[in-house]
């Protein structure tokens, strides 16, 4: 009896496995790796979800970055206890779209978290990100206590030699960085590299030890995001990064994505510069990162695709 049951379940399991594998195989054969990869995509004029879909398609689909069975982290900016219209945090619809896409690519788990500045539960709630991410099938991780962070050394860092990084980043297979484009009083701009401040525990150290250099140093981390997606649907052009009123926000309807964190920050900065003057030399972490050979600020040397909707 027992043996029969075992055989039955083994057989069923085998069939289930075969069925599950099948769509994955099709997916893999469809991947656009051969097509000559796009390095950076800029999209304009749509809603966050449409822009994401157009952008990721032109990057070669999410399966270029997320493989079947991957544990994925999607790291938005959830720093502030602000509603989405204040543009202090990443757009929740965008986060949800990315989460869904990762799951459809066969990710076993998608984790969303941020080490917030304001009280974490208020941030998770009022940003709308917790609800959106959960509805899309992600697990929302906690990041409000030091115990969720682990020491990692950054041998290439000039000022930041080590940092305590969130366990979900350490444990994942790939992670996707999803910052929101904002003006910033101290760092001048906060885009992809600055978004790393939400994966570390001790931010105060950065502020006390040459903020711009520390931002660049953290991007020397060996486990970089496979993709950076900059949300510029709503852009906080003044009083950032927290903002006072919706007067600080313009609806710019744009989105940038790239595998090159320096390039995507450069592109987003140039876009921002059209609303408010901002020199790249003043946002010095971008050039410092280029110096550390993390990426390039010269957008002519990479394959850029521009999409207007």
């Amino acid at each position: 009896m027992e043996r029969r049951n075992f055989l039955k379940s083994a057989l069923l399991g085998g069939i289930a496995g075969a069925v599950q594998l099948k769509p994955g195989n099709i997916f893999a054969s469809e991947s656009k790796e051969a097509q000559g990869e796009t390095d950076l995509v800029a999209v304009m004029g749509g809603d966050p979800v449409t822009m994401y879909k157009r952008g990721i398609a032109s990057m070669g689909g999410i399966s270029r970055f997320v493989k079947k069975g991957n544990k994925v982290v999607v790291k938005p900016n959830i720093g502030w206890d602000k509603k989405p219209e204040f543009a202090a945090n990443t757009n929740p619809e965008l986060v949800a779209a990315i989460v869904k896409d990762c799951l459809s690519a066969g990710a076993t788990e998608v984790v969303v978290f941020d080490h917030t500045c304001d009280e974490w539960q208020a941030c998770y709630n009022n940003s709308g990100i917790e609800a959106a991410a959960k509805a899309a099938g992600a697990r929302v991780a906690f990041a409000h206590d030091e115990k969720y962070f682990k020491e990692v050394s950054l041998p290439k860092g000039l000022r930041l030699k080590s940092a305590k990084i969130h366990e979900s980043i350490i444990d994942c297979d790939v992670w996707i960085n999803v910052p929101v484009l904002k003006n910033h009083g101290g760092a001048k701009m906060t885009i992809s590299m600055k978004n790393f401040m939400g994966i570390v525990w001790d931010r105060r150290y950065w502020h006390a030890n040459d903020l711009q250099q520390c931002i660049a140093d953290c991007s020397t981390y060996s486990k970089m995001p496979v993709l950076n997606i900059v949300d510029a649907y709503r852009v906080m052009t003044q009083n950032g990064p927290k903002g006072k009123t919706t007067e600080d926000v313009v609806t710019a309807k744009a989105l940038f994505m790239s595998t090159d964190i320096v390039a995507v920050d450069t592109a987003a900065l140039r876009f921002f510069n059209q609303f408010k003057e901002m020199r790249i030399e003043d946002v010095s972490h971008i050039q410092k990162a280029e110096k550390a050979k993390i990426g390039t600020t010269n957008l002519d040397t990479i394959k850029v695709e521009r999409i207007k909707i």
């Binding site: 539960q121 208020a122 906690f142 101290g186 105060r204 006390a208 313009v250 010095s284």
Partner: protein, 505 residues
Amino acid sequence: MYKWFKRGRVLVSLAVAILITLAFLFFSNRDNFFFSSFLKVQFVPALLGVFTGSVIILASLFILVLLFGRIYCSTLCPLGTLQDTIWRVASLFRSKRSRRFKFSTPKKILRYSILAISAIPLLFGSSFVISLLDPYSNYGKISSEIISRSEQFLHNILSSIFPDSIFFRTYSQFIAISFFFALGFLILVTIMSVFRGRLYCNTICPVGTTLGFISKFAAFRPVINKESCNKCQLCISNCKSECIDLEKGEIDVSRCVACFNCMTVCKRDAVSYKFMWGKRDVDNVFPAKGRREALVTMGLLGSFIAARAISRKNPSAPLNTSDGIAPPGALSIANLKSNCTACQACVSACPNGIIKPATGEYGINGLLMPVLSFEKHFCGYDCNVCSQVCPNGALIPLTLEEKKLTQIGQVRFYEDKCIVVTDNTACGACDEHCPTKAITMIPYGDKGLTIPIVDRDICIGCGGCEYVCPATEKAMLIEPTSVHMVAKKPIVEKQEKVVVDDFGF
């Protein structure tokens, strides 16, 4: 019949004690004010909050006591319920004989002097003494310091078992004096109740003494029928107030908490809860005397409230020095010190965990009252929880709009300590956290750096800048405003609409 009275009393008292405890626990006091609304139905909070919306509650409590005597003490008072519970648990471990109560003579001088020393300072704008003795507030301290901490400990054990679904609760600041006061008080009450039932209520408790005066003229009072009584002492041995004097056949109603124990146990129905208004017993002089005392007490309480009303308008001498920042809604440190009984409802409700019991920030007469500390976090801009949970009116309820303009302190910037000056590198952590933009960044030097500049009129003292400042010696410090002010509204900076339809690269 009395059996059902007693069961009802036990049920109500447990329900109230549980509701009040839940107002102090993390898992039940987030995102709702349901449990904390029950805190207002407490005598001292209602008395102190009489000018801030508790008038109906206070009147209802008076009517309750006027009708049924100190039934308040055995239903609504959580400390009373705690003492009964302790006695009950302790009696499980004792022989029947040692479980018996005896009659004790009233400790009038002690009771009255304690009442006087706790009430008189209230007239002069200090709620300090009452804050150490008030049964509700001390129950609050026990809930916050002991029960809530145990809850947190359990929560964190669960969080290590289910790390993905239950979060770790960062341990809040431990204020030794507050913890040990609560622990000491709990031990005192435990010892008193284990050996003598409601001894605390009938010797120390100022609320018990006050309500005792009024209950002498209560409509319903426990009475012994001397004809049916055979002096079997069963009632005495069950009277946790130790107030039945069978020699005289009298019950001291000023100490009786209307627990119905005597009526339940009497085999001859000799003790009954009788309607006493308009009835005159010829050989009992108690009613007339009781009425006089009750009236005098009510009169005194009336003048007490009137006196406080006057001193409210003219707050006693302004404080020159104060190191403490009072929570929003406190109006002023003087107002806090004259209305707060340190129950810690705000301390346990603060989502940011920045309210702590004062150690010396307000001086000795402000001990254990709530003070803000920006060491671990700062005051949330979109949060008014503390002002909503305070039952006393020590923190008046603020709308979010009012809270966002309530200036509890003002920032002072020490430029020489700022990272931008000392290290010549970018920082701006303070500006980042400033919700009103009282801190903004202006160009500094020729390296494209920016340095903070402050506008103290817009600052509300939330402490975001002080908390986050990375300098070894903080460059941003909040100075308390001993009288809270209304900050200027943050400046709304309209932007020119720029039409952008290019990527810019």
